[in-house]
Structures are given as structure tokens and as C-alpha cells.
């Protein structure tokens, strides 16, 4: 199929930059999507849709200065759309967001996030990521998998930095709880076996 393509259809600086962005970010976007939707094929589709949407945006004459934040933004929107399609799970997630109090002062310090993270085993926490509601999972993935800073995440999710920090803190706390819960379960199992 690729052999039939001609350069006349796609050529020049825009294409070059766009395809370079694809080569650079396809893996990271896929990882992010996969961790969020937990479906390999859907994740690939979402990444594909992300790039086609960005391509359309470029075709319409818009200049994309930095592809990474823009791609993440589109990807994130598509993932949210995906959740909306999956009514039940997305509703759960939305309900959870609504019930959360986002802004207690003691939770806003970065130190508390750091000290909290210090108590966690990364590998275990990663395995338990799927247990988290998406609203926390999204932030944790963006922060620790995609390596975005709180500011970038805020811009991407169109939330304030405070909200991001609180969600990060709470997400880690939830993860810690999950880890502890799993550890307790394992301990109980061992004791029962004895």
C-alpha cells in the first residue's frame, strides 16, 4: 500500500515535522492511552485518531509550535470521549470527581506528595494503577509515566495547578491504600494458610 503513494500528495516541511512527531511520540501516546483505556486495540485507534485530528488541524492552516502538549491534549480529549462511550465506567469516574473536595490546604504542598511517594513501591503501585478511578489515574500517568510537570498537566486538563496537586496527592494516597490493602490481604492469606 505504501508503495503506491506518491510524494506529490504529501510533501514539504509540514509533513516532515508531522511525521517526525509521530516517530517521536507514538509510543508514549500509546502507553498513555493503553494505561487509561486498558484496551490495546482501542489505544492504538485512539493514537491514530489523535494524529489524524492533528493532521487535519495542520491542513487547516494552523501552525503547531510544539507537538507534544498538543498531541497529549487531543489524546486526552479522545480518551474522555472514550469514557463517555463506556457509560458505566465513565459515570463512576465522574461521580467520584464530583464527590471529591479539591482544595484542602494541607494537601497542596509538593512535599507531602514527595513524602507520600517515598513510602510507595513503584512497581507495586504501577500494577495497581488500574484500580484507581480515571481522574487520578490520568494525573498519575501524566506525571509519572509521561513525565509532565504540574503546569503542563494543568494546561492539558484545563484544571488549576492546585486541583492537579490535590488529585496527584489523593491518587498516590489511594495507591498507597491499595498497596497496603493488597499487602494486608496477602498477609491474611499467609496466616490462613498457616
Amino acid at each position: 500500500m505504501s508503495g503506491q503513494r506518491t510524494e506529490d500528495n504529501i510533501s514539504g516541511d509540514h509533513q516532515e515535522r508531522f511525521l517526525k512527531a509521530f516517530e517521536e511520540y507514538n509510543d508514549a501516546l500509546f502507553r498513555h492511552a493503553f494505561l487509561r483505556v486498558s484496551d490495546r486495540e482501542r489505544a492504538i485507534d485512539i493514537v491514530h485518531d489523535t494524529f489524524t485530528k492533528v493532521w487535519t488541524y495542520v491542513r487547516n492552516g494552523h501552525e503547531v509550535e510544539q507537538f507534544r502538549p498538543f498531541l497529549y491534549k487531543v489524546l486526552n480529549n479522545l480518551i474522555i470521549d472514550e469514557y463517555r462511550k463506556r457509560k458505566e465506567s465513565s459515570l463512576d469516574a465522574l461521580m467520584e470527581i464530583d464527590g471529591v473536595d479539591e482544595g484542602t490546604f494541607d494537601e497542596l504542598s509538593e512535599n507531602t506528595v514527595e513524602s507520600l511517594a517515598a513510602t510507595l513501591d513503584g512497581k507495586r503501585a504501577f500494577d495497581l494503577l488500574q484500580e484507581l478511578p480515571d481522574v487520578y489515574r490520568e494525573i498519575i500517568i501524566l506525571r509519572f509515566v509521561d513525565g509532565l510537570g504540574p503546569k503542563e498537566i494543568a494546561a492539558l486538563t484545563e484544571e488549576s495547578e492546585n486541583v492537579i496537586s490535590v488529585r496527584l496527592h489523593r491518587g498516590l494516597k489511594l495507591l498507597r491504600d491499595q498497596v497496603q490493602k493488597k499487602e494486608k490481604e496477602a498477609e491474611d492469606k499467609r496466616e490462613a494458610n498457616k
Binding site: M1, S2, G3, Q4, R5, T6, E7, N9, I10, S11, G12, D13, H14, Q15, E16, F18, L19, F22, E23, N26, D27, F30, R31, F34, L35, I44, V47, H48, F51, T52, W55, T56, V58, R59, G61, V113, E114, S115, A117, A118, L120, D121, G122, K123, A125, F126, D127, I141, F144, V145, G147
Partner: protein, 511 residues
Amino acid sequence: MKRFSEQFKKKSETIRMRANERADLRDRLVSYMEYHPLPADMRTTSMSTKKGVKGIPSEAFRIISIHKHYLQGFAGVFAVFLIVGIPLIAERAVPGDMLYAVKTNISEEVRATLTLSPYAKVEWETQRLERRVAEARLLAREGKLTAETEAKVAMAVKAHSDAAQLEIAQMREGDADEAAIAEIAFASALEVQSEVLEGHIALATKATGSEAGEGSSVVALASVVHQAAGIAQVAQGQAGLSYEKLRGRVETESTYAYELFASVHKHASAAEVLDIERRLADVERKVAAADTAHSQVLPQEAVVEEITEVVSEDSAAPTQELQDEALEQEETVPTAESQTVDAQAQTAVREETAAVAPMKEVVDVVSVLRAALKDLQKINAFMTDIDVRQNVTMEELVPVVPTDDERYAAINVSYAQVKADHQLIAYAVTSGLANEKIQLGYKTLQTMVQNIDAALSLGNISQAESLTKEALLLSSDMRTLLGDIELPAEPEVTEGKATTTSATTEEVMRG
């Protein structure tokens, strides 16, 4: 925290697309881009601003991209080839070749158009004519000159000759002197070509023992060139030319000749060097004679001027008019005689024996210089053109002009014969052996011998030459009439004026 994020990230990196998944995704995306291409204006602007586009890093695209990249270069190289390469290759074309039309109709025409000065135009037309002759000879040597091609070449020669003549005619309206010089150059070039063709025919006939057959005959062309040379010769004889201008041109041409001679000296054979040296010496003598004659004419001109000044003392205008008239007459008096080798000598004779008009002198001086210039041009053609050297000998092109010493020697030989005959006839007359006719002839011969003696004592070499010639003719006829008669005693041999008896070029040169 660091440990956590490291562990977390490391773990997350285990999640990635498989190679086939990534390739599929890429293909889908590229396909989408193909069906949703950028608008044309975005493509062109980006194309014009970018440098060294690598193209889309897909195998198929890359191949096409490289192709396009090279295409531009190739187009450039091709254009250069069209503009520069083909005309260069075409320069070697001969009639019948595919590129011959490019050579004659494009390259040469372009050069003709780019040549601005009328003199250069005449030169270029002459050169084109020479090229046509050379092409024809090349084909003839290979036996490929068909009658049709020869006719075409002959027509081209005629066309170039006419073009040159036309250019000269136009030049004459502006600068008569320059036109006359161009005419001399053109005439000598044509003469050289004519000689070359005749030489070619002679060599071909000698080699095959008969007339050259179909494909190698240049006879028709030779006649056309010969005719053109004849026309040029007549035309240039009619044109007036100032001494100064001609003298300047002769100087330039002789400088060039000596430069050429210095450069060919090493490679030429001893005989050739001797030949060229002799001709250059001949030319120098002609020029020196012309200079002497001219300097003798000048004082007379000064007298004319003086008179006119006295006549019109109070008015400057008539003086100017008269001077102009005098000059005009000098310049426009037609050349009465073609450039004979002894024109200078004849001038000297007239000076001594009769009152000669100054105008006539100028004309003669000019024709001597004309001859000198033509000789120089022929010598130069001989030295520069290998075609000329191959077909023509120096003697055919520029015959040796005997020096005065050589002429005296020749006169002495003839004169001695005349004297011997004279004595014999005198003996026959005194002893009653001669009839009436011989007695009558004897008187004429006696007068002739006296005249020869007078001419020799005056140093009038030309007169002596012609008289000796006539006397020799007469005396030998009379001897034939007398039949076998012998002198009773040994006749006295009269010593001639000159002692030099050198007859060959070599001896003269060494002398």
C-alpha cells in the same frame, strides 16, 4: 520520590506497541495524509522555503524524493549541454553530419551577430569561407565529397564571399582606408585558398595518376574560389588607400609574422625556415623601397603646399581647399598597375629619366606596400595553417623576389650572351656573310647594346633588364638566320658591372 518515579517509569516502559502494530499505524496515518493532502499553497510555500527536503521517511517516498532532487540537477546539466556542449561538438561537423546545421546556422550565425566591428565581420566571413573549403577538402580526402555536397559548399563559399564584399562596400562609405585594408586581407585569404585547392587537385592527380573521381574532386569548388579571388583582386585594385594607414598595417602584420616565425622556427625544417626568411627579407626590401620613395615624394608635396600658401596668403580657406584637393587627388588616383614586384624599381627609373608627377609616385608606393601586405598575409597563413603548408609550397604562394644583386647577375649572364652574338654578327657583317635583313638587325642590336651599357652605367636596372631581354631575343634570332658561322678568333668577354653571380636563394642569404 525519586525511587518511586524511577520504578514507576521503568515499569511503564514495558508497555509499548509491537513493531507490526507501529508499522500498521504508520501506514494508516500516511494513507490518511495521502487522501487528505495539504492545500496546494501550503505545499508550494513550504517547498520554496525549505532547504534540502529529505522527503517522507517512507521507502517509496524517499525514492521519488531523490529522483526529483536529481531531476533538477539533471535538467540543469542538460540545459548546459544544450547551450554549450552541442555547439562545441558541432564545431567538428562536416557537411552531411547531423550537427552541421547547428554549426553553420546557429554557432556561426550567433558569432556573426555578436561580431560588431565591420572589419571583424569581414574577417569572420573570410574565416567561414576558409572553414567551408577545409570541410570540403576533408571530405574530398576521404572520398565523401559528392557533387551535391560540393555544390552546396560552393554556394556557401559564394555566399560568404558576397557577404564579405557587401560588408567591405558598406565600410567604404564610412572608412575607406579600413575598407581597403579589409579588402587586401580578404583578397589574400582567397588567393591562399585558391592556391590550396589547386595544390590539393595537383596532389590528388599526382597520387592517382589521373583526375580525381567522384567523391574526391574539388575542381568545381576550386573554380568558384578562384573566381571569387579574381573579383576580390579587381575590387581591391580599385580602392584608394593612404600611405600612412597602409604602412601601419604592414608594420602590424610584419610584427605578427616575425612573432610567428620565432615560434615555428624550432619545428620547421631547415628549407622551410630558409624559405620564410627569404620571403620576409623580400618584404622588408619592398617596404624599405616604398619608404625611400615616399620620403622623396614628400619634399615635392611641401613645395606644392608652399606655393598654395603664397597664392592665398590673405585667406586660409582656399589654402585648405587646395591642400584637401591635393590630398584627395593623391588618394583617389586609381592604381594604374597591379602590384608588380619591381614597381619600386620602375619608380626609381622614372624619377631619374623623366619628370614624374608626385601623385603617381604615391600610387606606386601604395601598390608596393599593398604587395608587401599581401605577401605578409600569405606568409602568415603559410605559417599558421597546416592545410596551406600541406598543399602549397612557399614558392607557389609567394614567389621569390630577386634582389638587385641577383638581377644584375641575371642581366650579366644574358648580356654576355648578347655580346658574344653581337661580335659574331659583326664578324659576319664585315666579312660579307650577312644578308640585308641581318645587316638591318645588326644596327638595331648595336643601338640596343649601347642602350644597355648606358642603362647599366646609370644603374637603371629595370631598363637594363628589359633591354637585355629584347636584345637576347633579337641576337639569338639573328644567329639562327646566320646558321653555322664561327669566329676566327676568341671573342673578348666584357666584364659586367656586378660581380656577384649567386643565383640561388641560399647563396644570397648567406651573402
